[in-house]
Amino acid sequence: MLFYCRQIVLATFFLLGFLPSAAQNLGSLEVSGRVKIEGKQEKLSRKRFYLLRGGLAENNALVERLKAAEITSRDCYYTGISASPQFVCWLQAGNCESPYCRDISKEDIAKVPEFQVAYNKGLTRYGKKPLIAQDWLTTNLLPNLVSGFYLQRKSLANMLLGNNKPLQSSMTDSVTVKAVFIDIELSTAGKKTETFTVSNILPLEFGAKSYLWACEIEIGGDKPAIMRLQVPENNKPVKNCEVIVRDLKVCKTGSCDRT
């Protein structure tokens, strides 16, 4: 009898192993990066957003850190490391955060002292080949000019996130200006939806201000959730959102020739 019982228990476990697991409840979310800022429709193209489980209350510690964070703007970072005004102007001209942002032309090399030095180093190092010296110019720039701002932002993001581990992150594209989160595992526990928080964590610079969103959204499994970012107007708070708008510290970069 004991033998048969044992066999039945073993067979049950064996069969359980083959049973399909309960179907996962997956959701998706679209964050639209078209935002009206100071009366003007802006596109938050190519900006990263993070998805965190729980609403604003659950992520309160993170929101408080975001509110208290010291932010260094792009211009202040580069002037802080003594980049030339021409270098900062070159970045500003393409709304760039690093020299990887766009191609460095011969005219740029002639105008920007850092580029000139790097180009000349490249000529020496790469067998006097002007093409390689130009195309590989960033390999001869000082590292803090190349990736210093990115590394600083990355470490700031890590510091701000702390123990709040995002489920996913996604960037807005430059055409539809949407960040898409898919295959979001939902634990709705009998409810139709689950609450999540979406934040850009790192403030985005527009004009003389920086903008940071932490907004909560309900995501269900039946259809994609859609979030449209907003900026408070007339001091009216945005529903389900903490929008942190700060004046950027002005760091003099000199006047840029826009021709």
Partner: protein, 361 residues
């Protein structure tokens, strides 16, 4: 007498044939030796990569056109451990690891790296970091994103023929013409471009599923514009990482990690062999409009199968109704116990005859 002559002739023919065959045998042994080198032996694993591989190698100008590891390590890298093998007979087997004609006078070497050899390393590539650092700003105005001409690097054509006075580099085929404002997005085209020739392609296998019916005739033939290529050399990496930006060109382990030997397939496998990247309504979209997972991918080897989820098409105003319509037709055909409708709007019949996967519901 005549019979004897025939015998001699036959013997001579046989001898020549044997010599001819032996020449192949030697080649085959050489090839075996060449392909047998393993980075993963316990002894080799103890050695730092750049104690053998020099960067750049002396032949970089002719071999690549840009500073690269373009040749085998020198004798000095091997001889301290393999001295005895170097002095073993007239045609030491170890020479066949690199040289086409093994022996003291055989200087010519196989093309480096050996194309037939299995890969010992896999490559790590974090798309997310590159998206953040390189692609965080949209291109503006008429200036298109620069991209490499990979084929020119791969075929070893020297770039010395480019006149230094020119303003547009062939290495970075920038498009400045207002009449031809080709828009390329987010620097993806630094590494991924439309190939000049159609690559080998195949339908992706669905091993865990059974087709509902036999495939109907396929009416679409992919062309080169359907595909994008990927880097197959250091060219696109070294333009930023040669020095200063980590991982550096001297830090092989920064990008390459040891793997069980494998042969890389050059066949592009797709679930949808009908998608044309160059279609007028696709070419104006940002890559990440559809490749939505790529901006968070920290390592290429963890990329999901279909890196373009159907959601990007099925929820769009362009194809939403087409896809919904096809799914409805499939369901109707099954409900009416007819031959299953084949979903051919996106798929070739080879895929379109399979059951609708959960991702499409």
């Amino acid at each position: 007498m005549i019979g004897r002559k025939i015998h001699i002739r036959l013997l001579l023919v046989g001898a020549v044939a044997a010599l001819f065959a032996a020449s192949f045998l030697t080649e085959s042994n050489a090839q075996k030796r060449r392909d047998d080198f393993l980075h993963a032996t316990p002894q080799h694993k103890k050695i730092n990569c750049n104690s053998c591989h020099k960067i750049p190698t002396g032949n970089w100008v002719a071999a690549r056109g840009y500073p690269d590891v373009a040749d085998y390590p020198g004798h000095s890298s091997c001889i301290s451990c393999h001295r005895a093998e170097f002095f073993s007979g007239n045609r030491p087997a170890i020479c066949a690891g690199c040289h086409t004609n093994p022996g003291p006078r055989g200087a010519a070497r196989f093309r480096f790296p050996v194309a037939t050899k299995s890969q010992d390393f896999e490559t790590k590539f974090p798309h997310n970091v590159h998206q953040d650092l390189i692609a965080s700003n949209p291109r503006r105005g008429r200036v298109a994103v620069a991209h490499f001409v990979n084929a020119s690097y791969a075929d070893g054509v020297s770039r010395t023929d480019f006149a230094s006075g020119d303003t547009i580099s062939p290495m970075r085929r920038q498009v400045y013409s207002a009449d031809d404002p080709k828009v390329e997005f987010n620097n993806c085209s630094i590494c991924h471009q439309t190939p000049d020739v159609i690559p080998k392609f195949a339908t992706r296998a669905l091993p865990s599923m059974q087709p509902l019916t036999s495939a109907a005739a396929n009416t679409v033939t992919p062309v080169a514009g359907f595909f994008k290529n990927s880097p197959n050399s250091h060219a696109s990496c070294f333009s930023c990482h040669f020095q200063n930006a980590k991982p550096l060109s001297t830090d092989c382990a920064g990008c390459h990690s040891p793997a069980a030997p494998y042969k890389e397939s050059s066949t592009v496998q797709r679930y949808s062999l009908k998608f044309n990247h160059l279609d007028k309504d696709h070419v104006n979209k940002d890559c990440t409009t559809c490749h939505v997972r790529i901006t968070q991918n920290a390592d290429i080897k963890f990329m999901k199968d279909a890196d373009v989820p159907i959601l990007t098409c099925s929820t769009s105003s362009c194809h939403g109704s087409d896809i919904t319509g096809e799914i409805a037709k499939r369901n109707a055909s099954i409900a009416e116990k007819q031959a299953a409708f084949q979903c051919v709007f996106c798929h070739t019949p080879e895929i379109g005859r399979f059951p609708i996967p959960p991702s499409h519901r």
